[in-house]
Symmetry: C2
Subunit: 347 residues, 2 copies
């Protein structure tokens, strides 16, 4: 009989409409390929050569303030810019449009040696507040219709500076991934009058097999359609379309969920766990977007150990995303982790 724990199968990503190929047990194959270099675990609290530390000078000559909690500034090498002339190129199959936007950097802490799981609940709560403020401020601009808040953590994720920080890229059009989620959520909303993720959460809380942790207002789970081995989804229990609709108590719960999840991640392979993570929420085009349900994705690259990652290459690039372990197996491993960080845990 067909069994998702044993047999190759496809799962539908209800949020994007795409399919993902699941090959249980393929992780058993021997690995003789690339090993990732371990990251230096010991960092100083202050690094005079870091362009994000308080008081230091950046590449373009600007001097960082002596900030005490968070610090936000415009990216010195922004991929999106506000002063792009409107225009396009339209020649048959060649279609291009100019894109207006901006990019910012958010330092999470003045301390060079910390990461989210090593920060206090109050400090993470403060990051949530900064995300809210930036989303509101940037989203209010006439020329910005989508605000992408994200963090690349770890060298393996292209992060060139270990100082704890995230980014914001915001632009005039809605990018591909949130656009797919808009379509799926809108059609669900139209048919059911409830947000897609409201109903999805009900199912997951009944099944329990993919839930990693919960608090009063947030749930963290490995989605049924997860692509990355230890991918997770953070969901508010209440249907809100964007971060500024969260109450203070909900923001506390968001920070709590972030802290507990990232500690579990670090504990999994006993290292500073790399990932890309980011918020998905309502486009800021002035519409109400009741179909949207705020959530946060975590996409970590590691598969087998601290040094062996999942390669999304040949088949995945040309044909279809594919995973080598089931989401249920991954959730079980994350549930088995302690919520005390391995660095500070009493052995």
């Amino acid at each position: 009989m067909f069994d998702t724990a044993q047999h190759s199968h496809r799962r539908l990503n209800a949020l994007t409409g795409d399919w993902i190929l699941v090959s249980p047990h393929r992780a058993l194959r021997p690995w003789q390929g690339q090993q990732e270099p371990p990251e230096a675990e010991q960092r100083p609290e202050y690094d005079p050569t870091c362009y994000l530390c308080p008081g230091n000078t950046r590449a373009n000559g600007s001097v960082n303030p002596q900030y005490a909690s968070t610090f936000v500034f415009d990216n010195d090498f922004a991929a999106l810019q506000l002063d792009v002339p409107a225009g396009g190129l339209h020649r048959g199959l060649l279609q291009a449009e100019s894109e207006t936007g901006l990019a910012r950097v958010i330092c999470f802490s003045p301390r060079h040696d910390l990461t989210l799981p090593e920060m206090s609940a109050a400090e993470i709560r403060n990051v949530v507040e900064v995300w809210t403020r930036e989303y509101l401020e940037i989203g209010a601009r006439e020329d910005i219709n989508y605000v992408q808040i994200f963090e690349n953590k770890g060298q393996i994720m292209g992060c060139s500076n270990p100082h704890p920080h995230g980014q914001i890229w915001a632009q005039g059009t809605v990018p591909v991934e949130p656009a797919k989620e808009s379509v799926q959520q809108a059609s669900y909303w139209k048919e059911h009058g409830r947000s897609l993720l409201t109903d999805y959460l009900v199912t997951e809380l009944e099944e329990k097999t993919r839930v990693v942790l919960e608090n009063e207002h947030f749930v963290v789970l490995v989605p049924f359609w997860a692509t990355w081995p230890f991918e997770t989804l953070l969901l508010p229990r209440r249907h809100v379309t964007s971060i500024e609709q969260l109450t203070d108590a909900e923001k506390d719960a968001f920070a709590d969920a972030l802290r507990r999840l990232t500690i579990r991640y670090d504990n999994l392979f006993q290292l500073s766990f790399p990932y890309s993570a980011g918020l998905h929420q309502r486009p800021t085009d002035g519409e109400e977007h009741l179909e949207w349900h705020l959530h946060m994705h975590f996409y970590p690259p590691l598969l087998r150990s601290a040094t062996v990652k999942k390669f999304m290459v040949g088949y995945e690039m040309l044909a279809n995303p594919q995973r080598d372990v089931t989401p249920e197996w991954a959730a079980e491993r994350l549930r088995a982790q302690s919520e005390e960080h391995y660095k500070t845990a009493v052995k």
Copy 2:
């Protein structure tokens, strides 16, 4: 005035319908991030520990024949299997379907120390013949409707064995990427009565700025909508839906284009250039699929040098693929390369 060589813009991928964000000049930002370890350039012609070399024993106990040109076998750790029981899981937003398929490995040469650009035109021509035979044989199966032929080259692309080889993953359903290309090509065919890539090629041969090399029957170009820094597209001039429709002369030209392109790639940073590459062609569901136009994609990860790659991370995973140099700039650099391999070139 808006200028695609200077200003941030989006380009439409006519083959998939997705947009890509182009940020010219962003490659100028300083890079302090991860450097890839260089691969060993010297390999023996025969490696007794390689599971692909002639006469060696594989992990499952099978012994490779003393093959003299190519060798095809079933993947010992296949992600897709033929004996999966039919079935599914259908519970509201949880949707899964069992997937039948098979996976094969194709050794390109008995020589452990070679790669495509170091093989002769006749040897590459032989690989093209094997691809044709496999596509026909696997595609003829009732339970297989799509055959993905590809190669992962280099440790950085998750390739765990440097012995020159490619793979085939074939399955009952059409995966996400070719499915998108099917939709786009079908709607173009319906509207114009010509294949999308026929018309695209006409435009590219007029503009010339993105063409890398040509021969009588094939053209290699950096597509207008390229995602990866040095991504290329190999196109037969004549509209054929799949590889077995190529004439002998066209297959010769295909091998010639492959050889000249991969030599240019190796010469770019003077190393064995990593990439994932693969053929896209007509699904094997028994339909004629006149809308399909055979082509081959090359997706190389390197951006700046032999050790600095393009990271498709945070923004790219959560929002939209993004590139830091223009396709026209990349094509110019590839055109500037010699077609004599740096290892054998007389200095």
